[in-house]
């Protein structure tokens, strides 16, 4: 802990402590009263958490009051001629007895959404003593791991702790469900328990995929959210980096689309390894799977369908916060950040860059690349020269213009080639075909994305990629 060289007599300490107490007391006022605007059963957990925080606050103030009294007594005693050695011993006893109020368990972790403003988080963290940071990291890993704006290394350590705990919990839960299964003969109960087993095993598999993704040198687990069993049971969201996002000159952040999940993280990281290597030295890349991507079985659900914006609008604030956190964690030496959205992930990315959503879109993104995009709304999210699109031949999704004009035909968006290209040195970059091969190493598409991510757009091969689908749309007036 920090130690100042100047000592203070008890009277001076009491005066300073009284001021600090007043500030702490004011902070507690935010918890006064019940949770506003919330009634019913769901408010119970919030009320409980609030009560606990109020009690801890009151205990802290009471502790301070006790020390204030001891300091006052010491001051009076010294003024009254009591021997300093006697006063010293009495005050030491009082100080030794203070500050032992238990902190209690953490109320919750950060659960999706935009979260606290990353710049404020970064400033808050910077103002903490290193030892206090270490305590927070140890005692509140879920909170620390989820706060955009904190250093990547800190988040990585915290999230790995959370991951290990989640896997252990899931293993125990699976064992418990299996034990129940073998003791049950009732067919209805068997079906119910069977479903539980399916859910917990799905969660275990997803957590295992995250663990596999971060089990390599240079990987960092920048975010991890695991739904509680009561909230569906198997939802896992994560962001994994390859390279040091706090030191890299260039950072690319990839957001995946329809039917994706953390299951594909290990494979995606392999692609991003190649992308970062092609982008050049000092490049880091992140696979951001921090939202619940729409799934095939959800197509008919208006709140979850890939045909609607709801999943994108739900995921965008979290992506915006994550993107802003990259720069907030390294003030004064910001990286060149490129957001890359594939398929429905381009809808999420565009929404994250939009300033239409409260409280504003990501501001620290320099370039955006849309891959196989079904549309990104009316504006591309970044100015001309910084908004890019790749459309491969035979990609039906990229021609749908389902979410606004086809980005491939949008003014201000520069097309990057996905065709086969023979480089001046004789090397051949392969064509990407279909919807899923935009980042396949060795393709023109992947090389072009790498050029943009690496801050070398002049090296990219431009091509509108207009194909049969686009021509058909022009003919029919789409």
């Amino acid at each position: 802990m920090t130690t100042t060289l100047t000592t203070a007599l008890p009277g001076a300490a009491a005066a300073r402590l009284a001021v600090a107490r007043a500030a702490l007391a004011r902070a507690g006022e935010v918890l006064a009263g019940p949770v506003p605007g919330w009634r019913g059963a769901a408010a119970g957990a919030a009320a409980g958490a609030r009560t606990s925080l109020r009690e801890r606050h009151a205990a802290l103030l009471a502790d301070v009051d006790g020390v204030l009294a001891a300091l006052g007594t010491a001051t009076v005693a010294l003024a009254g001629g009591v021997p300093p050695a006697v006063v010293d011993a009495a005050l030491a006893g009082a100080l030794d007895g203070a500050g032992h109020t238990p902190a209690g368990p953490p109320p919750t972790g950060v659960t999706g959404g935009r979260g606290p403003e990353p710049g404020e988080v970064a400033r808050w963290w910077a103002g903490l003593d290193p030892d206090t940071r270490a305590v927070l990291e140890r005692e509140r890993p879920a909170l620390v791991g989820g706060l955009d704006g904190l250093p990547a290394a800190v988040r990585d350590r915290a999230n790995r702790v959370v991951l290990a705990g989640a896997r252990e919990d899931a293993r125990r839960e699976e064992q418990a469900v299996r034990d129940r299964l073998v003791r049950t003969a009732d067919p209805v109960e068997l079906a119910s328990i069977g479903w539980e087993l399916h859910e917990v095993r799905a969660r275990l598999a997803r957590l295992g995929a995250v663990a596999a993704a971060v089990d390599a040198p240079g990987r960092a687990l920048l975010d991890l959210e695991v739904d509680a069993p009561a909230d569906g049971g198997s939802g896992v969201r994560a962001a994994v980096a390859r390279g040091d996002v706090d030191a890299a000159a260039h950072v690319g952040v990839f957001t995946a689309g329809f039917t994706t999940g953390v299951d594909e993280l290990p494979g995606r990281l392999g692609e991003l390894d190649a992308l970062a290597a092609a982008a050049g030295p000092g490049t880091a890349a992140v696979a951001w799977y921090g939202y619940d991507a729409p799934q095939a079985h959800e197509v008919a659900d208006p709140d979850r369908s890939v045909l609607g914006r709801a999943p994108a609008e739900e995921g965008a604030p979290g992506l915006a916060s994550f993107l802003d956190g990259l720069d907030a964690a390294r003030p004064g030496r910001e990286a060149h950040v490129t957001a890359i959205g594939h398929s429905y992930g381009s809808v999420v990315t565009a929404a994250a860059l939009s300033s239409e959503g409260a409280p504003g879109g990501a501001e620290g993104v320099d370039d955006v690349v849309y891959l196989g995009s079904p549309g990104v709304g009316e504006v591309p999210g970044r100015p001309p020269g910084h908004a890019w699109v790749v459309e491969a031949a035979g990609d039906p999704v990229a021609d749908t213009a389902w979410f606004g004009p086809d980005p491939n035909r949008m003014p201000g968006v520069t097309g990057l080639s996905a065709r086969e290209v023979v480089l001046p040195d004789g090397r051949v970059l392969a064509e990407s075909r279909g919807h899923g091969a935009y980042l396949t190493p060795g393709t023109t598409s992947a090389a072009n994305v790498a050029a943009v991510v690496g801050g070398r757009p002049q090296d990219a091969v431009l091509d509108r990629g207009v194909g049969a689908g686009d021509r058909l749309r022009r003919l029919v007036g789409g």
Binding site: M1, A13, A27, A42, P84, L143, V162, E314
Partner: protein, 94 residues
């Protein structure tokens, strides 16, 4: 009747206040207290300052988490998710 906008406002207020808490002020006020050089009160004050700094930091961090949970629940209600209590339970249930 749930009013998500009020819930979200309460959550944001918690986060804003908690991030602005002068975490080191209480500890700093007592850290260098001394009655006489080489006495026991000096080390006791430094140790108390360490404990208080951690306690205030943990409390403020937990108020941040509480505020985040309220805001997340408000978002769930806004999207029509009546089971927002699950949002509040969140990863803390791990």
């Amino acid at each position: 009747m749930v009013r998500p906008e009020e819930l979200q406002g309460a959550g944001r207020a918690c986060v804003a206040v908690a991030l602005a808490v002068p975490v080191t002020a209480t500890a700093g006020a007592v850290r260098s207290t001394e009655v006489l050089p080489g006495g026991r009160a000096g080390p006791a004050a430094a140790a108390l300052a360490d404990r208080w700094e951690v306690a205030v930091a943990l409390w403020s961090a937990d108020v941040v988490a509480h505020g985040e949970a309220l805001a997340a629940a408000a978002g769930a209600y806004s999207r029509g998710d009546e089971d927002a209590a699950a949002v509040l339970a969140g990863p803390g249930a791990l």
